[in-house]
Structure formats: C-alpha cells, structure tokens
C-alpha cells in the first residue's frame, strides 16, 4: 500500500518538524475552524494535515483523508467552474477565497467557504497550501431565500404594473373613443345645420341658423383644441381666440373688417372652456353684425390677458356704437352672454369706446393650479 507508506512518511516528517512542542501546530490542531495543509510539490497535492474541526465538519477520520487530494470533497452538485478556479489558483501559486458546494462522508452537501493560501519555502515557491474552511450553508440558504423573496416581490410588482398599465391603456382607449365620438357628433350637428341652412329661403331663419352654426363651430373649436393639448384639464383661451379669428377673418376681410390681437396664454379649466368660448364667439358676432352696417369696414381689437386675480377678455370695435341699454343683439346673443357670465361667476360689461363699443369680460382667475 503505497498510500499507507506515503502517509506515514509525511506524518513523520511533519512530526519531526512540528512536534508536540510546536505552539503554532498545536494552535492549528485545536482551532475551531476547519483547517487543512496540502503538499504543493506532490502530484494531486495530497493532504498532510487536517485538524479536528475539519474531521468534525466532514465526518471523515484522519487516516481517511491524509495523503488524499481534496477532490474527495466534491460531488454531483459541485460547480465545475469553481473547481477550475481553485485548480488555476493552485497552479499559479496564488491565494483564493471561494464558496463551493462540498460533500461530507455521509453524502450530505454543505456550502464551503474556502480560503486558500500558499505557504512558500525558502526560495519563494509554494511548499504547502494552507486552507481554512467554514460551513456557510445557513448564509447561502438565507441569501437564496432573500433572492427568492426579492424575485417574488419583483414578479408581484411586474404583475401589478401590468394590471395598472392595462387599466390605463383601457382608460386611454376609452378616452380616445369618447373624444372621437364627440368630434364626429359635432361634425354631424354642424353638417345638419348647414344642410338646413342651404334649404331655407327665409332670411330670418337663415340668420338664426347661421348663429347656431357659429355657436356649434365655437364648441367644435374648443373640442379640437382640448384634445390637442398635452393637458386635457386646462384650456388656453388665447389659442381658441386665434383659431376663431382665423375662421372669421376671410368673411370679415370681404367686408373690410380687420382684426388686431393682443393675446397672452390664459388658462381656464376644461369645464369652463365651452362657456368662455361661447361668450367670446357672441361678442365677436355682435361686433361684426352691428358695428359696421352698410359695408363700412373697420378694426376689431381682441385682447386676452391676466389682470391681477382676473382673466380679462376685451372685444372692442371702432364702429357705429349702439345704445347699450336698449340694444338688440344677434339671435339673443346678449342673453346668452349674460347667462354664461352668471354660470362662470364672470362679469361682462359694455361701454362706449368713442368710436365704437368695448365689451369687457372679467373671469375669476383659477391661478396655476387648474383641475
């Protein structure tokens, strides 16, 4: 039995060099951490020393391990890459700390945290390898449990996010669907009125229908604008006015009426968009209808500005002026303005501008926070 002879020889060598009186050897033998010493110069790097803690950890007897290579600790679950890493460190004579799955004599596995370090001889070449081992199975299990819990949590968050995204997608789709329908219905209403208008011969009926068509047009412009903006909760009155004026300008130009705009962004909540826009529409319709009779042209100024804690909308013509207290307006336009002003808690006043008329709407400001 070569192995037996070899083991005895190495044992004798060690005993000679590190006998009962060697304090360091005694410390290693009695340490509570498992420790090994392997012969770096022999093929297979056989163990020449194993302390009691190692024997306790692995379940082997001392004579079962001395003279053998450490490979006996490996088993079916041992990671090949980790084994390779240890092999490379040994070949290159450098230290290594690694966690590797090892097996006891009874076949049970444990996570082994190994710290390897070469012990050099006088010339600097590794003479022995010294290894400290500890069972870190509990730590690994805790880590694994934590990882699983974390992954479980992540899956739960992903699932919840998906649910929310789906709900949001459905809401968005619904919003688009409703938006689409509102716009199509406004188009339909507008086409209906227009068709009716084409069929009627009565000037009074035509004028009334045209008034209604303009009002529907104002609401249509509101809806085009509302869903174009990034924030559907608020509405820029100035943008509406510039759209409306562009719609009116060609017809107005034919009558020699020009517009001058002084606009700054003035936001109202989307719920107020339609009434505010209808008021502006009525004011402009009034000015165009009454201020410039018999082809007399002129200039209509429209201003939209924040003034203190009010939003101020001004429509001022330089036309013939009118008897403010007894004036009749387009298709009950003034009545509409008064009703909508009340709804908006706004005040609308008319004054003589000499020449012409100035209508001023003061809306309570909603500040920056609109919603």
């Amino acid at each position: 039995m070569d192995n037996q002879i070899e083991r005895e020889r190495v044992g004798r060598d060690l005993a000679e060099r590190h006998g009962e009186n060697d304090l360091f050897a005694a410390a290693l033998r009695g340490a509570c951490k498992a420790m090994l010493l392997a012969d770096a110069r022999r093929p297979g790097k056989p163990l020449v020393f194993a302390n009691d803690a190692f024997l306790q950890l692995t379940g082997y007897a001392r004579d079962e391990v001395l003279g053998r290579s450490c490979k006996f600790l490996q088993g079916p679950g041992t990671d090949e890459a980790s084994v390779d890493e240890i092999r490379r460190a040994l070949a290159e004579g450098r230290a290594l700390s690694i966690e590797i799955l090892n097996y006891r004599k009874d076949g049970t596995a444990f996570w082994n945290a190994v710290s390897l370090s070469p012990v050099a001889d006088g010339s600097g070449a590794p003479e022995y390898y010294f290894a400290v081992l500890s069972d870190v199975s509990d730590k690994r299990e805790a880590e694994l449990a934590l990882k699983e819990a974390y992954e479980g949590l992540e899956r739960a968050v992903d699932a919840r996010t998906l649910d929310l995204q789906t709900a949001l997608d459905q809401k968005t789709m619904l919003l688009h669907e409703v938006d689409h329908r509102v716009k199509n219905n406004l188009q339909l209403i507008s086409s209906l009125i227009q068709l009716q208008l084409r069929r009627s011969a009565e000037p009074v009926v035509k004028e009334a229908l045209r008034g209604v068509l303009d009002r529907v047009g104002a609401i249509s412009t509101v809806h085009r604008r509302l869903f174009q903006s990034d924030d559907v909760r608020r509405f820029d009155v100035a943008e509406f006015v510039s759209d409306l004026i562009e719609d009116l300008s060609a017809g107005a130009a034919d009558r020699g009426i020009r517009f001058e705009l002084d606009l700054e962004p003035v936001f109202v909540s989307s719920g107020k968009a339609a009434p505010v826009s209808l008021i502006v529409n009525e004011l402009l319709a009034n000015a165009m209808k009454h201020a410039y009779p018999e082809g007399k042209g002129g200039l209509i100024r429209v201003a939209v500005r924040r003034e203190g804690d009010k939003e101020r909308i001004v429509v001022q013509d330089d036309g013939v002026g009118f008897d403010i207290d007894n004036a009749k307006t387009v298709s009950g336009g003034r009545h509409i303005i008064e009703l909508l002003s009340r709804q908006l808690r706004a005040t609308t006043t008319w004054e003589n501008a000499n020449p012409g008329t100035r209508a001023v709407v003061l809306l309570p400001s909603e500040g920056e926070a609109v919603g």
Partner: protein, 150 residues
Amino acid sequence: MSDRRLRVLIVEDEVLVAAELAWLVEDLGHEVVGEAATSADALRLAGDTRPDLALVDIHLYDGPTGVEVARRIAAESGATVLFMTANQKRVPPDFAGAAGLVPKPYSIHGMQEAIAFVEQCMAEGRAMAEPPHSLKVAPAFTERLGSRGP
C-alpha cells in the same frame, strides 16, 4: 371660386356629413365625381372616375379602412388625398401617401381653405402661402412642394 375645376371623390360613411361636404365642394366650383361610404366603393369609384382630389374619412362603414383606401388611391390613381378625421392618431407618420389631414370637426371655412390650398399647390407645383390652420400637411407633401412662398 377657384380657377381650376377639380374632380373630387368624397369617401365618408356619415351620409349627412358627405352630403354637406358635396355642397361645400361644389360651392367652391369643383365637381363631385362620387361619394363612397365603404372602402370597396371608394376604390372602385377611384378607379372608375380618376379624381384629382379624394377627401377620405378614416372610419368607414367597414371599419378603420380609410388609411388603406388613401394609400391605394394615392398610389394607383395618382389623386391628391386629404384625410378628414376625428381620430388623428390613426393617421400613420407617412400619412399613407395623403397630402394632409383636416381634423374633425372642421369648420366650413377651414375645409374651404384646406381644399383651396391643395388646389393651388396642385396647380402651381408648390405652395404659394402658409397652409391654413385647418390643414395639417404631410411631411412628404411639404418636401415635394419645396420652399414656401413665391
């Protein structure tokens, strides 16, 4: 009134909107060569009548088929196509070969200006003015027209 009489195809499934649009087109001095409410009718009419201009709604009687209708009319009959839709998100980034889009609800004036603008572009081979606010011009159409202004 326009200088040039365009032959116009209207593709719209809402018949009242189509009827009113036909009046509007004729008021501008153009000729309506057909009205279609389905994609099949639209393609057949486009082949039969070879229109100069097609006004195409995206949601037709047979579904959101207007995009494909526009693509085929533009490619196969060489007509200038304008979308008119309440659902602008359906218009693909390349406008499916259409020259532009008129968002619904459009005003009479807005639609008149949009038609007048493309008519002038077709006649002059380039834009003579900025497009009206009622019209969103397709990127490829802008490129084809080159620089704006005389």
